[in-house]
């Protein structure tokens, strides 16, 4: 018998098994079976000895006889679990007969499985292999999760640093270009002015991208801090409409606001919610055809207050819906006036709205266009 009894893809050779039994013959039998499989075996003839050996041998699995003089298998198992907690190796009990009581007590004591004497070698090998593999997979998963969350945190920190260091020079470039365009250092020729305006426009959109990346990094790193105060939502939305009117006018688009009946106060971070309203309303302007009408409405019931923005854009294709509120989820629709999109705006909106305990959603309108709805909980 030269081949191992069972073939499997996970290499478990060299895994350490602590076999505990007061019967030397049993130990010799089990030791023989397991060594043949390539495991490293350490033997203990009592519970007390097992507890001592466990510390130095650091087994991956423990085979533990139930009936032993001194402390029995169950007590030994409980002691191990108490000492090593989650890190304790899986324990398989060995009983002379598969008495139901023994089995139940074994699981209660923290065992993962049991084997009955006399041993059937194939069964012993298969069960041990299963538990060692499980344990190894769990360890790998844990390791992977740790690595991934560290990599993710590194990414956010890197993104944050990057964005932060790009921001100041970019805003200087934008500011200097704007001042030059305003003839702050003397009158420019037509072409010079055009160039300076190009620099201004390009740095402006880069700055927006950097700011949005920084927002994402801040939110992802769990550093989104809301400074919530009772605030009139309609005031915030009206301000955003006012700001977007300028861009809308360039495209001959009209923003109609259905005035609110009263204005409930909502517990929100004013600046963050402004960002949400600005984003949704400017998106409506961005994606609606020139000369169309955008409708902004206020919604409220007993427990929520919110607003809805209806555009006349192409609507959201069903196949792209899942991308809409995701980072960099750019859809096939193009801005109708050559505006820029980073694909981060709505992802940030969703994160901000959800941080407020609210919801953001979209539905296509029967005729044409989409309706974005933001809903926030009213203070109780």
């Amino acid at each position: 018998m030269d081949e191992p009894l069972i073939n499997a893809s996970i290499d478990l050779k060299g895994r350490r098994i602590l076999a505990v039994d007061d019967d030397r013959i049993n130990l010799r039998i089990i030791g023989g079976i397991l060594r043949h499989e390539g495991y490293e075996i350490s033997e203990a003839s009592s519970g007390e000895q097992a507890l001592e050996l466990y510390a130095s041998f650091q087994p991956n699995l423990v085979l533990l006889d139930v009936m032993m003089p001194g402390i029995d298998g169950f007590t030994t198992c409980r002691t191990l679990k108490k000492t090593y907690g989650d890190k304790c190796a899986p324990v398989i009990f060995v009983t002379a007969k598969s008495e139901a009581d023994d089995v139940v007590m074994g699981f209660d004591a923290g065992g993962v499985d049991y084997l009955t004497k006399p041993f059937r070698p194939k069964e012993v090998v298969a069960r041990i292999r299963t538990h060692l593999s499980n344990q190894q997979l769990v360890e790998q998963q844990k390791h992977l999760v740790t690595q991934l969350s560290k990599a993710n945190a590194d990414k956010d920190r890197f993104l944050g640093m990057c964005a932060h260091d790009l921001r100041n020079p970019l805003s200087s470039i934008r500011g200097l270009a704007e001042l030059m365009a305003e003839d702050a250092i003397g009158e420019l020729t037509g072409e010079q002015k055009e160039i300076v305006q190009t620099i201004h426009g390009a740095s402006q959109s880069m700055l927006q991208l950097v700011n949005e990346l920084l927002d994402v990094a801040t939110i992802e790193a769990g550093h989104l801090k809301l400074d919530k105060k009772p605030t009139s939502l309609s005031e915030i939305v009206e301000r955003s409409v006012h700001l977007s009117n300028l861009e809308a006018a360039k495209k001959n688009t009209r923003i109609e606001m259905v005035k609110a009946n009263g204005s409930p106060l909502v517990d929100i971070d004013r600046n963050k919610m402004r960002q949400v309203a600005d984003n949704i309303i400017s998106n409506a302007v961005k994606y609606s055809p020139k000369g169309s009408i955008i409708t902004v409405m206020f919604l409220s019931d007993e427990t929520t207050a919110g607003f809805a923005v209806r555009d006349s854009g192409p609507g959201i294709p069903e196949s792209e819906r899942h991308l809409l509120f995701k980072d960099f989820g750019r859809l096939s629709a193009k801005p109708t006036g050559g505006e820029k999109s980073t694909g981060l705006g709505l992802a940030i909106c969703r994160k901000i709205v959800e941080a407020h305990g609210g919801t953001i959603g979209v539905q296509n309108l029967p005729e044409r266009g989409a309706e974005f709805v933001v809903s926030l909980p009213l203070p109780k």
Binding site: N168, P169, S171, R174, G175, E178, A184, L207
Partner: protein, 132 residues
Amino acid sequence: MNFNGSIMLVDDEAHIRKFISLLLRHLGVSKIFEATNGSEALELYKKETPDLVMLDVNMPVMDGIETLRALKALNPDCVVVMLTSLANRQTIDEAVALGAANYIRKDAPPEEIGRALADTIDNCFEFDEPEA
């Protein structure tokens, strides 16, 4: 902007000094002094006693908060506006507690920076304005 006093601009980054000083000139401020760090700022302040100081927060060697403390020790009445990049509530609160008159986000568009500066000047110099 209705201000004929002098302004000292303190920032370690050349592009910020260039940008803010051009903006100040554009707003009609004619006397502008520039310093690149805290200790340079203190020397320059002693020499020129500018009416207003625009002070960066993050600087090597001697940061904005430390410089603010030193300036206030020299002259408790000196008007200091902090220049911040990201609004850091804690730093702003600390600066205000130490007697800073205002704070301005230096990554804001020129118009906004101009407005914040004009507000500060209106608040801090209302009795000093020459009568029309």
